[in-house]
């Protein structure tokens, strides 16, 4: 589904990713771990199409050149990024935003739009599962939300937009144990044989819930080690240095 080959990313002359290779098949959950500054967030941002990076190498999504697409086209193809720092947008109502996004995707995919009434019912159903107060729909997007509320709002968006490839950029950071469980369950519900996930994290706790198929260590701008779920436990015990040296 996602194929990354020799991905090199430079920001203001500084090389952040340096020949990264990664292959994710449908139905798989991959975790990328690594120390601060290893390039984890750069990887997720480049995949989602953020400006400001010099990018070389190849990235295809279902065989299509992902790097040639705008962020909205990538979303229409089924890519979703749960932001590490969800953006606050005062003045744009959360419900209006979510409804607009769902219909924008449906339009681009040639599907019929969803009415406001039907969408509201669907949103409330998902919010109940995520333990979110429906009052969040009438507030501005992420405006004044706590860290945990913002992360839940990301998972809500993910549930409503039904992506085929979800990238979670440190969605677990700053969450207490209960919030982490709710988020993990939200992610788990999305799992299907035709979907894939790329989970970027510092901590193994989310991975305990999700049990990824593959764990990768990103260091110095490339994948230096890959393994099964047991690699996460080893990293927790020994840190990144021994893994990088091996």
């Amino acid at each position: 589904m996602l194929h990354i080959e020799r991905l090199t990313v430079t920001v203001e002359g500084k090389r952040i990713l340096d020949g990264l290779d990664l292959e994710i098949a449908a139905g798989e959950v991959h975790a990328v771990m690594g120390p601060n500054g290893a390039g984890k967030s750069t990887l997720s941002n480049v995949l989602a199409g953020r400006d400001g990076y010099e990018v070389a190498g190849a990235v295809t999504f279902d065989g299509e050149d992902l790097l040639a697409l705008t962020p909205e086209e990538r979303a229409a193809r089924g890519l979703f990024l749960a932001f590490q720092y969800p953006v606050e947008i005062p003045g744009v109502g959360n419900m209006y935003f979510l409804h607009t996004a769902v219909n924008a995707l449906r339009r681009q995919r040639g599907q019929a739009e969803v009415s406001a009434g039907a969408f509201l019912a669907l949103a409330k159903e998902h919010m109940a599962r995520l333990g979110m107060d429906p009052a969040f729909l009438s507030r501005s997007v992420n405006d004044g939300f706590s860290g945990g509320e913002k992360k839940r709002n990301e998972i809500l968006q993910m549930a409503l937009l039904e992506p085929r490839l979800a990238i979670l950029d440190e969605t677990d950071s700053g969450l207490d144990i209960d919030a982490l469980r709710v988020v993990a369950e939200g992610v788990e519900r999305l799992r299907r044989p035709d979907r894939a996930m790329l989970v970027i994290t510092h901590y193994p706790r989310l991975l305990e819930h999700l049990r990824p198929d593959r764990v990768h260590v990103l260091q110095h701008g490339r994948i230096v080690r890959s393994g099964g779920y047991e690699l996460a436990a080893e990293l927790e015990a020994h840190g990144y240095q021994p893994a990088a040296a091996s």
Partner: protein, 417 residues
């Protein structure tokens, strides 16, 4: 052209009366303002004075103006509607049958008092203007439906100057909403509108006033709204500008009675080569008055939007609370925004706060919206709508808020490149 010749052209001398003679003498001596005057610095005055130098009187009342056309250009807000076309009242397209008791609405002659005019445009307006659109509300009257005054300009074959006048007098303790719309048609020749509005808010009255300028893209518009507030009066005034190639909206509020409050809001959206200039003056004369200004500009293409916010706190105006905010969104590198706070505080024990920003659309927010599949033009429009929404929030009547929101959205979809 000499000021005397300009005066003869725009306001030929008629029957001698003392007031007219005084205004004529004042105008000949002072003429029109220039951009050397601070309050006129950002107005594209050359275009206006050049057009006035060529302007004649407007074409006779246009028969093709219908109620449906007025609906389209100015909207229908449910209450009575007084329509002027090219400075003259048009009873046939006005709707005055539902004017409530205690309210007088119509056209009538009006003198601006016996003081010197504030500037040459005001002098010309009084001399050349015809009947004023007049809204008089008695004491203790609560008017439920909005009163709508429409000034329509319809161009003819030659450059024409129109001098619309509006007078709103509100008695003690009364409550009223007035919407004033300046609209027009595009035609062969351009029009110059030189508008003057006076609002007198009596003791403890509540006055809501909205000034909407949506004239044709090639029109020129210079307008001034002068508000005089008695003790305990509360005024909420909004100025929205989307029309005209050069437009100036000056609002001057004098808080002359203790405890008066004014809440001023404004929105201006110059695009193309439009110039929109706002000059707001709040004069705190009496003690314990409160004023707020919230003005927002969205500038696009080669447009230029300007804001000057002048707050004067006079000796003796203790306990004044004055706040001013001006925010500008610059949508492309060729657009320009000017912001100028101008505070003169001559009293002690006052609170004055002001803030001004000029910025671009937030790239982070734009990326966030796009990453959710919302196309770039729609994402931009969404962010601009959120920006202007603060000014229109809670605006009454709802029909006006909806109309303005829709017209802003229509302009923003143009801006959404």
């Amino acid at each position: 052209m000499s000021t005397g010749a300009l005066l003869e052209r725009l306001a030929p001398a008629g029957a001698a009366d003392a007031r007219a003679a005084r205004l004529r003498a004042w105008f000949v001596a002072h003429g029109l303002p220039t951009t050397r005057a601070e309050a006129w610095r950002y107005t594209a005055l050359d275009d206006v004075t050049a057009a006035l130098g060529r302007a004649g009187p407007p074409p006779p009342v246009e028969p093709e103006v219908t109620g449906a056309l007025v609906d389209e250009l100015a909207g229908d807000h449910g209450g009575p509607r007084l329509v002027f076309v090219n400075g003259r009242v048009r009873a046939d397209v006005s709707d005055l049958h539902a004017v409530p008791s205690g309210v007088w609405l119509g056209g009538r002659g009006w003198e601006d008092g016996d003081e010197d005019p504030p500037d040459g445009f005001a002098a010309l307006n009084e001399l050349a203007g015809t009947d004023a659109a007049t809204v008089l509300v008695g004491a203790g009257v609560r008017v439920d439906e909005p009163l709508h005054v429409v000034h329509l300009v319809v161009p003819g074959r030659a450059v024409a100057a129109v001098h619309p006048r509006t007078v709103v007098g509100v008695g003690d303790g009364s409550v009223v909403e007035v919407v004033e719309t300046y609209a027009g048609l595009a035609g062969e020749a351009i029009t110059v509108t030189n508008a003057s509005t006076r609002i007198l808010a009596g003791d403890s009255s509540h006055v809501t006033y909205h000034r909407v300028q949506v004239e044709a893209d090639d029109a020129l518009h210079v307008g001034a709204t002068r508000v005089e507030q008695a003790a305990g009066s509360h005024v909420r005034a909004t100025s929205v500008m989307t029309g005209a190639s050069v437009a100036r909206s000056a609002i001057e509020a004098r808080l002359s009675g203790a405890g008066a409050e004014i809440d001023l809001r404004g929105l201006y959206l110059p695009a193309g080569r439009q110039r929109h200039d706002n000059v707001v003056t709040v004069d705190h004369v009496a003690p314990h008055c409160r004023s707020t200004q919230l003005f927002k500009g969205v500038v696009d293409d080669h447009g230029r939007g300007s804001f000057t916010g002048h707050v004067i706190v006079r000796h003796g105006a203790a306990g004044t609370d004055a706040r001013q905010t001006n925010r500008n969104l610059v949508l492309c590198p060729t657009a320009q925004a000017d912001t100028r706070p101008w505070l003169a505080i001559l009293a002690d024990d006052v609170r004055c706060a002001h803030g001004a920003t000029v910025g671009r659309l937030d790239d982070e927010a734009l990326f966030y919206l796009r990453s959710r599949g919302i196309p770039l033009p729609e994402s931009r429009a969404l962010l601009v709508a959120a920006f202007v929404g603060e000014v229109l929030e809670g605006l009454s009547p709802a029909s006006l808020r909806e109309r303005l929101t829709a017209s802003c959205a229509a302009r923003m979809s143009r801006a959404g490149r």
